[in-house]
């Protein structure tokens, strides 16, 4: 262990302390103190991470693994510790989590000011940071799973924060149930790993895999697919994406932090972390890539017709996560993490800016009742513009670099790669379109609010917006080459870098596509804006209606078929089978059992005794007949019994 003075355990523990203080005492503390506690601990965590980053910059060799961490579980050959490890991948994740996390805490102080349960909100938010940093710092799968479950719990608590709204409670429950399905996959993968390797440490598993006498490909693929099931749950990919749009019931800063910037990227992080496994299974990688591309495409089509500003962003998040999965699937893990980082910047900004708009309009979320806000909310407008340009992939904004890297990586992966690249490119077109649609509907044209005077948000909310805007602009300038080289010790170097000519062509094409999306959005929504500005009263209503006619057409031709597939194929699996189906099934089984139980669980002592006698008879028959007939595992007993 070289220079251990990184205080790694403190990074998660500080926010946990904040959670304890606010959670236990918060209801009795003054608001200012609650805010101070909520802010200081994440800031201190961030300072530690920044210090670690600076030490790495100054030459500290990574990875730093805390081997002497206290043992958690020691049982026979199994040894699982509270081991934490800091490597390049973790460092990037930590910078994003604590950095963006702190900014969102800051923003929340303004946003949540008038809410009851202010302390509860910040206690949960700090708890989330604790689990999220644990997730990325963990040196083994089990501790990672602890963080994984923990962020799910925090997310559940925060989605259901407005507990008096029934929809919030339902959304929280939906998120929890769907994530349990994913966790189920993750746990099976953990048991399989433990069974096959006898360890859950990342480094030891990687060492096992490097050994020539490895496992059969089938087992590895099975493990990878189980891990992938977990990742699709947490990262809202097909088929488990259904919880994320509903999760928007939570407060907007929560959507920014948990359901955009950090928690939902845990699946991407997990695949990148376990890439040694995935690299050995081309089948699993292919599944990852196809799921990613399909999700990116599908979610973008849905985002194009949403009218709720947060739902547009929710589907957009699902779509962008799809890009990251696509990158993982073509082996470009560093590109996935790069996009994860830039996405955290601009998507957090988009949500926070949307939150600022909602805040300014006293809770209005329907974009049909917005418009013309650029005058009233200039700071929100300009920062949002930066984010829109970034997510659409305009040069030189952050999103351009990372999305370009993903598309280029896909392009170089043979024929299937070309197909995936095409899907990605079309998705980029749609992304640009729906983002500018949001931009025009919200900020351009004439105000469609009902005589409420919109107001700009307070500075405590605007400061994080401006910092994130700066990052959305400049976050990609480090460039894929340098970023990939930095991550190379963890994720390996992507195999092929195409020649510069092709790369340039691809980049230009990507920007052209983004511009095309803007143009389409402008020609539909922008003109109405300018018209309504100049011609004032005459036509806005009609134009608006026209615009919705365009929407209708699009809905009929594109969205309906896709939605049909989504609803009747994926949706049935997801919504019906998983959420309602499980509820119905449970109710049905419970009802059936109930009927059956009522007979036995009548409270009648004689029927209980009869039941016991019958059960005893069954057990005895099982023992005797099993032995005498020699079924299955009884064979050995027979040899003794029928001597």
């Amino acid at each position: 262990m070289n220079d251990p003075m990184l205080f790694l355990p403190l990074i998660p523990l500080l926010p946990f302390l904040g959670f304890l203080l606010n959670g236990l005492l918060g209801s009795r503390l003054p608001k200012a103190l609650v805010s101070a506690i909520a802010l200081v601990f994440p800031l201190a965590s961030f300072a530690l991470v920044a210090r670690a980053a600076w030490m790495v910059h100054a030459g500290l060799a990574l990875p730093v693994v805390e081997h002497d961490a206290p043992a958690w579980i020691v049982s026979g050959a199994m040894h699982i510790g509270f081991g934490l490890a800091l490597d390049q991948l973790t460092l990037v994740m930590l910078l994003v989590i604590t950095g963006v996390g702190f900014l969102i805490h800051l923003y929340s102080v303004g946003y949540m000011e008038h809410e009851t349960g202010y302390w509860r909100y910040f206690a949960y938010l700090n708890l989330f940071l604790f689990f999220m940093t644990t997730l990325v710092l963990a040196a083994n799968f089990l501790l990672m799973f602890v963080g994984w479950e923990g962020v799910g719990l925090a997310s559940y608590l925060l989605i259901g924060f407005y507990i008096d709204r029934k929809s919030a409670g339902d959304a929280g429950k939906k998120a929890f149930v769907v994530n349990r399905v994913g966790d189920f996959g993750f746990l099976i993968a953990i048991f399989l790993l433990l069974g096959n390797f006898g360890t859950l440490n990342f480094s030891e598993i990687a060492a096992h895999l490097a050994a020539p006498a490895g496992l059969s490909g089938g087992t590895i693929t099975l493990i990878c697919l189980c891990l992938l099931l977990g990742a699709t749950g947490k990262s809202a990919q097909i088929p488990l994406y259904i919880w994320l749009p509903d999760a928007m019931e939570g407060p907007t800063p929560v959507s920014a932090l948990i359901h955009a910037a950090t928690m939902v990227t845990a699946g991407v992080y997990m695949i990148a972390r376990a890439h040694a496994l995935f690299d050995l299974s081309p089948t699993a990688l292919m599944v990852v890539a196809v799921i990613g591309a399909a999700t990116a495409f599908f979610a973008a089509t849905v985002a194009m017709v949403q009218t709720d500003i947060k739902r547009v962003l929710a589907y957009s998040t699902i779509s962008q996560l799809g890009y990251m999965f696509l990158a993982c699937g073509v082996g470009a893990y560093s590109a996935a993490v790069f996009h994860l980082m830039t996405h955290a910047f601009f998507k957090a900004l988009l949500f926070l800016a949307a939150g600022s708009v909602i805040h300014g309009l006293s809770g209005e979320q329907d974009m049909r009742r917005m418009g013309g806000l650029r005058k009233e909310m200039p700071v929100t407008f300009w920062t949002m513009t930066a984010a829109v340009l970034a997510i659409s992939g305009f040069f030189p904004f952050a999103g351009f670099f990372s999305k370009d890297a993903i598309l280029a990586a896909a392009f170089h992966q043979g024929a299937v790669g070309k197909a995936l690249w095409t899907v990605g490119l079309i998705t980029a077109l749609m992304t640009s379109f729906y983002m500018f649609r949001l931009w025009y509907l919200t900020f351009m044209g004439k105000s469609r609010t009902e005589s409420r005077h919109a107001h700009e948000s307070p500075w405590i909310m605007l400061t994080p917006l401006m910092i994130l805007a700066a990052l959305s602009v400049s976050g990609g300038w480090v460039g894929m080459d340098r970023f990939g080289a930095f991550l190379a010790p963890v994720t390996g170097t992507p195999a092929n870098a195409g020649d510069a000519h092709v790369e340039l062509m691809l980049s230009v094409l990507a920007v052209l596509v983004a511009a095309a999306g803007w143009f389409v959005a402008h020609s539909i929504y922008g003109r109405s804006g300018s018209q309504s500005m100049t011609e004032s009263l005459a036509s806005p209503r009609r134009v608006l209606e026209n615009k919705y006619w365009v929407d209708e057409l699009y809905v009929a031709c594109v969205v309906r078929p896709i939605e049909w597939i989504a609803r009747y194929v994926l949706g049935w699996i997801g919504e019906l089978v998983l959420v309602r189906g499980s509820a119905w099934l449970m109710a049905g089984i419970a009802g059936l059992c109930g009927e059956w139980l009522r007979r036995w669980q009548s409270g009648n002592l004689r029927s209980y005794a009869a039941w016991l006698a019958a059960a005893a008879a069954v057990l005895l028959i099982f023992v005797l007949a099993g032995t005498l007939l020699g079924v299955g595992g009884f064979a050995q007993t027979i040899s003794w019994a029928v001597r």
């Binding site: 209801s27 043992a71 958690w72 579980i73 020691v74 049982s75 026979g76 089990l142 799973f145 602890v146 479950e149 923990g150 719990l153 507990i163 008096d164 409670g169 429950k173 929890f176 149930v177 349990r180 399905v181 189920f184 099976i188 048991f191 433990l194 069974g195 449970m586 109710a587 089984i589 419970a590 009802g591 059992c593 109930g594 139980l597 669980q601 409270g603 002592l605 209980y608 005794a609 039941w611 016991l612 059960a615 005893a616 069954v618 057990l619 005895l620 099982f622 023992v623 005797l624 099993g626 032995t627 299955g632 595992g633 009884f634 050995q636 007993t637 003794w640 019994a641 029928v642 001597r643």
Partner: protein
């Protein structure tokens, strides 16, 4: 040479304390408060706990003509059982009805019965002779039968006691028949001798029948399906502090007995009992969880939940070697901590008179008494099996053990089941978080008394400690398994 009496020191201490409590009760004026008796009993159990720990420092060995044996195994379960009984007594001091209520003159008996029950449970874990096993089981059972009917003035109390007694006797009869048949087949009732004589047994049919009959008896005691029918009715009828005890301590002792029978008496039948445990585990968790889903009464729901947990526990028996013993030992500890904890809070929040009994009655508890509500959440989280609680790690360890024994499908069933189980635990959690319509002030922890605070505190700390730093308990469980293996040569 250790004097024989030291091998049963905790039992001796407990018996003396029980007698002392009874005599003191008789000599007290009818009108004076009986709370003192509770503290006497608690101190006595604490002394027994210390005696058990001291026993752990003795070299392993037998006493009284080879009928009891103390080793790491017996110490582990002695400490666990004494701990549970201690918490249950502390809990009862403050949650039993106030003085001068109709039950007042039974409070002395109540504490004495708890202590006497502990004698039987402790003895059960160190007995290595089947008749002593049977007697110990009866001592523990009969005190529990009486305690179950403690609420005489309600209709449900005597009903629960009667059902428990009749069905329990029925099941114990199976065990006794089994013992008789083993004796018939081998000519002895000593565990070690049976194991060595079994391969040359006179009648194999007798051995198989004996095994089957004894399993019926024990599986009834651990309330595994399909021998679980008594559980919901009895839990519903018995007073909540008693349920805190009887859903944990007798079960822990019964699991110790199950280990003793499977690994001590019938290791030869391993190929037979492994599939049996597989099936019973799968049936128990599935039946328990599905039935719990439709329960409105919280105590009935938790009764079914305990059946499901018996299933998760039995899952470990499909592992190989002596690992299952350690896994079961650990699980019983974690299960006891969270189950005692949740029932302790139910007796505080729900009240002895059960003014809250259905899930919807718990609406708003999180706001009216945040500390009790928060701790209930902690125990629920542990019951669901979310990390950093004992419940998670116990389940993880049990399933890992099963996985290593090759019972992959059973683990799959177990994981599916724990997914289903989350639904009904969350229903209670969600109900507590909903704003309540009628703002009935729930009884808070602090207003009840020091005993309850101690009891809940111990349970909560144990639940957390078993999840965060399970090392010591895990070592003890391993030592228990090892000592067993060394003597049995399994």
């Amino acid at each position: 040479m250790t004097p024989d009496i030291f091998r049963i020191l905790p039992e001796v201490v407990l018996t003396l304390v029980g007698v002392l409590v009874m005599l003191t009760d008789a000599s007290m004026s009818p009108k004076s408060s009986r709370r003192l008796l509770g503290w006497v009993a608690a101190l006595g159990v604490l002394a027994a706990l210390a005696a058990s720990l001291w026993q752990g420092t003795l070299p392993a060995g037998t006493a009284f003509y080879g009928t009891v044996q103390t080793d790491a195994f017996s110490t582990f379960f002695h400490v666990l059982i004494c701990g549970i009984v201690l918490v249950a007594i502390l809990l009862s001091i403050d949650t039993l009805p106030p003085d001068r209520s109709p039950e007042q003159h039974h409070v002395g008996e109540y504490f004495a019965l708890m202590v006497f029950g502990a004698v039987g449970m402790c003895l059960l874990t160190s007995a290595v002779e089947l008749l002593v096993v049977f007697i110990a089981l009866e001592i523990s059972s009969i005190s529990t039968y009486v305690l179950a009917g403690y609420r005489k003035q309600t209709g449900k109390g005597p009903e629960a006691a009667m059902k428990y007694f009749l069905l329990g006797s029925f099941a114990t009869a199976f065990l006794l028949y089994g013992i008789a048949m083993v004796f018939g087949a081998t000519g002895t009732t000593e565990v070690r001798e049976i194991a060595t004589l079994l391969p040359a047994a006179r009648s194999h049919l007798f051995v198989l029948l004996a095994f089957g009959l004894m399993m019926v008896g024990v599986l009834f005691k651990v309330s595994a399906a399909p021998f679980h029918v008594w559980t919901p009715d009895v839990y519903e009828g018995a007073p909540t502090p008693v349920v805190a005890l009887m859903s944990t301590a007798p079960k822990v002792a019964a699991f110790a007995l199950l280990i003793r029978l499977l690994y001590g008496v019938f290791p030869l039948l391993h190929p037979l009992w492994m599939p049996l445990m597989w099936v019973v585990a799968a049936v128990s968790m599935t039946v328990g969880n599905l039935a719990a889903l439709r329960q409105q009464n919280v105590k009935r729901m938790l009764a079914y939940s305990s059946i499901a947990h018996a299933g998760y526990l039995l899952t470990a028996f499909t592992g190989s070697g002596t690992e299952p013993i350690a896994a079961v030992g650990f699980y019983t500890a974690a299960y006891a901590a969270m189950n005692v904890g949740i029932f302790a809070l139910l007796s505080v929040v729900g009240g002895y008179d059960e003014r809250r009994s259905s899930v919807t009655d718990y609406r708003g508890v999180l706001y009216s008494s945040p500390l009790s509500g928060g701790l209930m959440l902690l125990f629920l989280i542990s019951l669901i099996g979310i990390p950093f609680t004992g419940g998670f790690f116990a389940k993880f360890y049990s399933f890992t053990t099963a996985m290593q024994g090759g019972a992959g499908w059973l683990v799959l069933i177990g994981l599916l089941n724990s997914g289903i189980a989350a639904a009904y635990y969350l229903r209670l959690a969600l109900s507590m978080a909903l704003p309540s319509a009628a703002s009935a002030k729930a009884q808070g922890l602090s207003s009840v008394g020091a005993g309850v605070v101690l009891a809940v505190g111990i349970a909560a700390l144990a639940t957390l400690a078993l999840g965060i730093l399970p090392g010591h308990v895990l070592d003890a469980a391993h030592a228990a398994a090892q000592s067993f293996a060394a003597i049995r040569g399994f």
